[in-house]
Subunit: 452 residues, 2 copies
C-alpha cells in the first residue's frame, strides 16, 4: 500500500495488495451467492433529505459524513452525502420493489467505497476516510423470525469466511450503547491485533422494522393487508485484509494463506557456472506444469542474487518457494521452502504437483491452527476486577467476565478497567459466578478488551 497520498486517511492499493484484496473478495462473493444473495451497485451520492429520514441513524453518522455542496461553480440545491453506509440509498428503492409477499425475501449485496470523516488517527486498511472495500448486504423479510434466521445465516457465512482466511474471532452481541444506529441489536466479529487490542472485522445487524417504518417498506399479504417488512444488514471491509496480515505475518513481513496469495508458488532458479540454461529451462517447465494444475506460479528471472530474491518474496508472503539449483538438477528434484516455518525439503520431480498441493494444504491448516492457538491463549476468564484491570493495562487480550446484564454495571466495567465491552458472547454459556460490580448473579459472560 502506498501511504504517501497527500490526504489524511486515504491510501493507494498497489498491484500485489490489490490482487490479495480481490482474492479475498472472491471468497465472500462466492459464499454470498451460494446463499442466494445477488450483487447490485448503488450510487455513492445520497441527497440530504433521504439521508436524514431515519433520526437514530443520522445521530450515529452526522459527525462523520462528507458533504458535496458544489457542482462546478454552482451551489447545489440539495446537499449530497458521500455514503458512510447505504441503508438510506438502498431502502427507498426497496420501497419501489416491494409490493407483495411474493417479492420477499430480498437478499442483495454490493462492494463499494464508503466515506467517514475520521478525526482520530488514521491507519491503512484499519481507520480510513475512504473505505475502498465495503461489502454490505441488505435483506428484507415477511416475518420477524425470518429476519432472525437471516442474522444466523449471516453469522454462519462470516464464520466460514474468516475460517477460510485463518482469521480467529469472537462473536458478541454489542451492548445497547454500541449498537448500530437504527438497529434493534448488532452482532460483531472481533479479532486480535498483535498488540493485544481487538479489531472489529464484521458486523451483523437486526434492523427490525425501524427503517421499514421510516422508508415505508410494506408488502401486501395474501389476504390484502399491508405490513412493514423486517430487515437485516451486515458488512465487512478491508479491515479483513488487515486481519489476515496480522494473523499470519511475522517480523519478516507478510505470510499469506495459499487460497488468497496473489502468487502461491515462486520458483527461483539458482544458476551456476556455465549451466544457466538447464536451470532456467526446468524452471519454465515446472512453472507451466503447476500453472496447468491451477496454481498461481511465478518464476523470478531477475538479475539478482538468489538470497535477495528469497528475501523479496518472503516479505511479500508467498507461501512456498521452489529452488532449482545444481544439486536439484542432478538429482531430478526441486527444493521446497515453506514461508511460514522456513522448513526445507527436496521433492522428486515426478511427484511435484501432488507434493506442492499437499504442502500448500498443510501450510493452510498450520497457519490456521497457529493463529487460533495464539488467539485462544489470549481469551481469559476473569471474575474479579483486579485481573481484568491488569489484563487491560498490559493489553493482555480479551477478558471473559461474568455480567448481571445491567447497563450501569456494564459501563462501570468499562470505566474501572479502561477496557471496552465488546458484548455478550454469542452462543456462550451462562456463567455460575456473580457480576464483579454488583455481586448479583451473572446472566451472561461479557467480553472486555482494549479496542482499535
Amino acid at each position: 500500500m502506498e501511504t504517501r497520498y497527500p490526504v489524511k486517511g486515504l491510501y493507494v492499493w498497489l498491484p500485489h495488495g490489490l490482487q490479495l484484496r480481490n482474492h479475498v473478495l472472491a471468497i465472500i462473493r462466492r459464499f454470498l451467492e451460494q446463499a442466494e444473495h445477488r450483487e447490485v451497485l448503488f450510487p455513492l451520492l445520497i441527497p440530504e433529505n433521504l439521508f436524514k429520514k431515519e433520526a437514530e441513524h443520522i445521530r450515529g453518522f452526522e459527525n462523520e459524513v462528507y458533504w458535496v455542496t458544489h457542482g462546478g461553480r454552482d451551489k447545489l440545491d440539495v446537499k449530497l452525502a458521500l455514503r458512510p453506509t447505504s441503508e438510506t440509498s438502498i431502502y427507498p428503492m426497496f420501497a419501489l420493489w416491494i409490493r407483495s409477499h411474493a417479492d420477499l425475501p430480498i437478499k442483495i449485496y454490493q462492494v463499494v467505497n464508503i466515506f467517514r470523516y475520521e478525526t482520530k488517527m488514521t491507519k491503512p486498511m484499519i481507520r480510513l476516510r475512504e473505505v475502498t472495500t465495503f461489502k454490505e448486504a441488505h435483506t428484507a423479510h415477511v416475518k420477524r423470525e425470518e429476519a432472525e434466521a437471516q442474522v444466523q445465516e449471516a453469522v454462519q457465512i462470516y464464520k466460514r469466511f474468516f475460517d477460510e482466511l485463518g482469521v480467529p474471532y469472537v462473536v458478541t452481541k454489542r451492548p445497547p450503547w454500541d449498537t448500530f444506529a437504527g438497529a434493534e441489536y448488532s452482532l460483531a466479529f472481533d479479532t486480535l491485533a498483535p498488540d493485544g487490542r481487538t479489531l472489529q472485522v464484521g458486523t451483523v445487524h437486526n434492523l427490525g422494522q425501524n427503517f421499514a417504518k421510516v422508508y415505508d417498506l410494506k408488502y401486501e399479504t395474501p389476504s390484502g393487508k399491508h405490513h412493514h417488512v423486517y430487515q437485516t444488514c451486515y458488512g465487512i471491509s478491508e479491515r479483513v485484509i488487515a486481519a489476515v496480515v496480522m494473523a499470519h505475518g511475522d517480523d519478516i513481513g507478510l505470510c499469506l494463506p495459499p487460497n488468497i496469495a496473489p502468487i502461491q508458488v515462486v520458483i527461483v532458479p539458482i544458476p551456476y557456472k556455465a549451466k544457466e540454461a538447464p536451470v532456467g529451462q526446468i524452471a519454465t517447465v515446472i512453472k507451466n506444469e503447476l500453472a496447468a494444475a491451477g496454481l498461481r506460479v511465478h518464476v523470478d528471472e531477475r538479475d539478482l542474487r538468489p538470497g535477495n530474491k528469497f528475501y523479496y518474496w518472503e516479505r511479500r508472503g508467498v507461501p512456498l518457494r521452489l529452488e532449482i539449483g545444481p544439486e536439484d538438477v542432478k538429482k531430478n528434484q526441486v527444493t521446497a521452502v515453506r514461508r511460514d516455518t522456513g522448513e526445507k525439503q527436496a521433492i522428486a520431480r515426478e511427484v511435484l504437483e501432488t507434493k506442492v498441493k499437499q504442502l500448500l494444504g498443510r501450510i493452510t491448516s498450520d497457519l490456521n491452527d497457529r493463529a487460533w492457538k495464539l488467539f485462544h491463549e489470549s481469551v481469559k476468564s476473569a471474575s474479579d476486577m483486579g485481573t481484568v484491570k491488569r489484563m487491560m493495562e498490559k493489553r493482555g487480550g480479551i477478558a471473559r467476565v461474568p455480567w448481571c446484564g445491567e447497563e450501569a454495571c456494564g459501563k462501570a466495567l468499562e470505566e474501572q478497567t479502561d477496557g471496552d465491552l465488546l458484548g455478550e458472547e454469542f452462543d456462550g454459556t451462562i456463567p455460575t459466578e456473580v457480576c464483579p460490580i454488583c455481586s448479583k448473579k451473572a446472566k451472561a459472560n461479557v467480553l472486555i478488551a482494549r479496542t482499535y
Copy 2:
C-alpha cells in the same frame, strides 16, 4: 437498471446488468494484464491544490467537478474534488515512484467510479453524474517514441476489446479543439447508436510531457542527467455496455453476445400431462452437463407458462434457449432456439455439448457480422456540402469528408452541416478530393456525425 433513484444522472445496477458489466470488465482486464498493465486503486478524493496544478486540465474540468466542502459539521481546510478522471491524483504518486530509467515504463490501470456535474440531459450508462465503471490506464515512458508505441498498443487493445464485444467502431484523431484537456492529441473510438448519432466509447491520449512538467516526473539517465517522462492515458466506461446493448438489441429487448451474457443458455422444460417428472429430470441432467462444460446455464423451473418464460428470457438477451417437451423426450433430443434469429432446430442428446458450443460460436460471429454490416452501410463518403448536410439532417450516420486540415475549415464544416467533427480517420488513406470549404487539396479524410 433501476432508473428511479431520486438524483438526476444516478442509477442502480441490478443483478443481471451488474453481471453483464462484470463479464465485460473481465475481458478488458485480461487484455490489459496480457499487455503487462497492473491494476491499482487510487482514492476518490483529490485536494484542490493538487487538482488545480495543471492549468489546461482544469479549464477542461472546472465546470463539471463536484466539491466536498464539509466533513461532519466542520468546514474542510482544503476542498476535495470527486475525481472526474485521475491524472491529478495518480501523477503526484508517479513523482514518488520514478527515480531512474529502470523504474520505467510504468503501466497501470484502475476501475473506479468518477463524477461529472452534468447539466445536459442524463441517460443510463451514457451520460451520468456518477460513472460507476471507469477503466483508466496511465503510463510513463523514457522516450517520446515509447509513448507513441504505447498509444498504438492501447488502440490495438481497444480494437480487440470491441471486436470481442461485436461493437463496431471508427477510430479518429480528435481535432485540436476537442482534445483531452492536457493532452498533445487524443484518439477516440466512436460507435453508432440506432438513432444515427455516434457515441464515443473509448479514448487514447498522448500526454507528451505536459503533466510530467507540472507534477515534476523526472528520471535519472544512466549518465546522471534528469529528464521528464512521456505519458499516455486511455479510458473506457460503462458506455461500452450501452454500445453492446445498442449494437445487438432489437425491439424485443437485449440480445447479448454469448461471451458476456450472464446466462448463455436457458433451459425451459415444457411439462405435459402426467409427464412432468422426466422433463424436469432431463433439464437438470442437461444443465449439469453444460455447466461442467464451462457454460453459464440456467433452468427456469418457475410456475409460469412456457410462452411467458420464452418472452422473459428473450427480453434479457439470453443467446440460446433449449426447450424440452414431450416430442423431445420421445426422440431423445432438445429443441434449440436462437435469440438473435429465432431459428429453431432439434439437437440429438448425444451431440448436445458440441452443438451448443457451435451454435454459441455462430451466434457470436453472426451478431458481429450483422453489426459491422449495418455500421459500414452508415459510413458514407461525401465530398460536397449538400450531401453532408442532408446526412446530418436525418442523422444518417457518419460522413467521410475530405479536409484541408485547417481549423477554420474544420469549424466551418461543423457549423454549416450541424454535425460534429469526430476527427481524422486513424490509419486512413489520403483523399484525392479537395476540401469542400476552401477547395484546397485535402490532407486527410475527416469523419463528421451527429454525436451523443
